[in-house]
């Protein structure tokens, strides 16, 4: 049963709203951040290449100057793109939209333009500067190509390692701007499993049956039932029913319909635990 249960993980950012409620945001992993950045990087570099093609087609630039045109186009496009789009879409770029990420102020307050400018223009120092240096090492340290490469690579590595070394995966720019990237939660309100026709429960349970399990098991059962509602999982529901019956020592005379049993048990168990919760008792999980 543990395999389908995803524990509420610790990678959360809690913000206290002015109403006094804690608002929780999920934090994306470094891989999502990197993927979003790569999408944006690809788009800006594509645009720079198109600018270069257009300049070559219209003005006919010498090959030596083509690289310069590309560098200049890329410099302006990437700096304008990141800052402008994040300002326009309140903390999202095309890449972040694709991955459902968003920049917010770390204190949950308004995301100011100042913060967005700070976090985006820092990219220049964090990533693009050493990349340009790698493309032409002699510009960094005129006396040694080898040391230039070492310097540029370690520069990149330091800034790339920073998000891996703090819990909220903050870049250098996030530290400066006071921002953090969060995952925008997907919203899906499914049907209430406890809400059924007026026929009444198919199976009955005594308080002794309901005192075995806690909230964690109830919510695992919820996951199982939602899965079974999507698609038939006969061996899953049969297995779960058998385990529950054995654990709470519940027996019936005739044949027991697994889904019906689980739904009735879910409803009775939830009513039981919610009633206890109103009286101040939260039973988190079963005693082993």
């Amino acid at each position: 049963m543990d395999a389908i249960w995803t524990e509420r993980v610790a990678d959360e950012l809690a913000v206290v709203s002015p109403e006094g409620t804690t608002v929780r945001f999920r934090l994306p992993g470094p891989a999502d951040r990197l993927a979003a950045f790569l999408i944006d990087l690809f788009l800006t570099q594509l645009a720079s290449a198109l600018v270069l093609l257009a300049v070559v087609a219209i003005a006919g630039v010498a090959p030596a100057a083509a690289w310069a045109v590309y560098l200049i186009a890329s410099f302006f496009l990437r700096n304008v793109y990141f800052a402008f789009v994040e300002l326009l879409w309140s903390g999202q770029t095309i890449g972040k939209r694709q991955l459902g990420l968003r920049v917010i102020a770390r204190d949950g307050g308004p995301l100011t333009g100042q913060a967005i400018l700070a976090r985006n223009l820092t990219r220049e120092i964090e990533f693009f500067l050493p990349m340009v240096a790698l493309s032409e090492p002699r510009r960094l340290l005129p006396f040694s190509e080898g040391w230039s490469v070492v310097l540029a690579v370690s520069w990149l590595a330091v800034f790339a390692a920073l998000p891996l070394l703090n819990r909220e995966h903050l870049r250098c720019g996030d530290f400066l701007g006071g921002t953090v990237v969060v995952r925008l939660p997907k919203l899906a309100l499914l049907s209430d499993l406890a809400l059924r026709d007026t026929r009444g429960p198919a199976y009955l349970f005594s308080p002794a049956h309901l005192d075995v399990y806690g909230i964690e098991e109830l919510q695992v059962l919820e996951t199982v039932l939602r899965r079974a509602a999507e698609r038939d999982h006969p061996e899953l529901v049969d297995g779960v029913r058998e385990r529950i019956q054995r654990k709470i020592r519940w027996t019936a005379g005739g044949r027991v319909d697994s889904v019906e049993f689980l739904r009735a048990f879910y409803e009775a168990q939830r009513a039981h635990l919610e009633r206890k919760m109103v009286f101040g008792v939260r039973k988190e999980r079963k005693e082993r």
């Binding site: 300002l87 309100l189 809400l195 635990l273 919610e274 919760m277």
Partner: protein, 336 residues
């Protein structure tokens, strides 16, 4: 159906309509921005948000339906961003930065800027004094890569040609401009990185190396009777560029100061608050470097008259002085 066996089911049934309405409004606000909602929608967004916050608080206390809890957590988080995480558009952000944040931060760090400028000017003076006392030491103060042929062995004519060279064909100009962009950014980047790591200690060294080279070169030109032309060549963009270097250095000094003397705050708090303001200084300096690069790349190649060059230099000095003295004074909002 009138009665529910579960209180949490009844709770949900009574409120899910309002949640759905909020979800639709949030989706619209996220897609186009809250400014594109009409007044009625904005009001109901705020009201529905507060309603959902209440629902979330209640649900946490009475409901064990994980789907409802997750849904409400997500809904409240997204609505919270729509209501409180309001943003500025690109135009407002730029206007606030140029019209208020940047000049005000420069004034706030006035002492640091003054100290950096003093160090820079002292280094210029020292550089010219060193070269004046012994021309052989020109190579000590002006690096070989910075000199680019402007050495004591060059003839006066060659030196003059550098000042009035047209830079050749268009392709060459573009390349110098790209190089420029890169070296300027490298300068800023190095300053920032160095100050962050070493508590601002490298700042005087960087200022000294910049100032010494400039002073040494100026002395070389002065000794050939080209002082007015030389400064006319340097200053039109040099005013902006040297000021920008001073601002970066001031940011570095402030950062180092916060690291060494955090006063009554923790070091982390002091650094993040100074860091944000230092970022404003550096951002503004980047803009000034760009302006300098444009003046150098375009204006200097096309205007050869020393009087016109001097006029631009003086005008840019007055403009920056006026901007940093009076910019953003009428704004009421206080900086962090």
């Amino acid at each position: 159906m009138s009665s529910f066996r579960l209180r949490s089911s009844q709770f949900r049934r009574e409120r899910e309509g309002a949640w759905g309405e909020l979800e639709v409004l949030v989706a619209r606000a996220e897609l186009r921005g809250i400014r594109f909602l009409d007044a009625g929608d904005v009001l109901s967004l705020a009201a529905l948000y507060r309603h959902a916050v209440g629902s979330l608080a209640t649900a946490r206390a009475i409901s064990l339906d994980r789907n409802v809890l997750d849904y409400l957590e997500g809904l409240v988080a997204r609505a919270h961003l729509c209501v409180y995480g309001y943003r500025q558009g690109p135009r407002e952000a730029l206007a606030e930065f140029v019209g208020s944040d940047f000049p005000r931060t420069v004034r706030r760090f006035g002492l640091h800027v003054a100290a950096a400028l003093a160090m820079l000017l002292a280094a210029v003076g020292a550089g010219s004094a060193i070269v004046a006392s012994d021309p052989e030491r020109y190579y000590d103060v002006v690096g070989a890569d910075a000199a680019q042929g402007r050495t004591p062995t060059a003839s006066t004519e060659e030196l003059r040609k550098v000042l009035y060279g047209t830079g050749g064909d268009e392709a060459f100009d573009l390349e110098t401009f790209a190089t420029f962009l890169f070296t300027n950014n490298a300068k800023v980047g190095l300053l920032c990185a160095a100050t962050g790591i070493a508590a601002g200690l490298p700042v005087p060294a960087l200022l000294a190396s910049n100032g010494l080279a400039l002073g040494g070169m100026a002395e070389l030109y002065r000794s050939r009777g080209l002082a007015v032309e030389f400064w006319g060549w340097i200053l039109p963009h040099g005013v902006s560029e040297l000021l920008a270097i001073a601002l970066c250095a001031a940011a570095g000094l402030a950062f180092g100061g916060a690291l060494l003397f955090p006063q009554n705050r923790t070091r982390r708090d002091a650094l993040s608050s100074i860091g944000r303001q230092a970022a404003i200084l550096v951002l503004g300096a980047v803009g000034m470097f760009l302006i300098a690069a444009i003046i150098e790349g375009i204006f200097r190649q096309t205007v050869q008259d020393p009087a016109a060059r001097w006029a631009v230099a003086v005008a840019s000095l007055l403009l920056w002085a006026g901007y940093f003295t009076f910019g953003g004074r009428n704004r009421g909002r206080d900086l962090d």
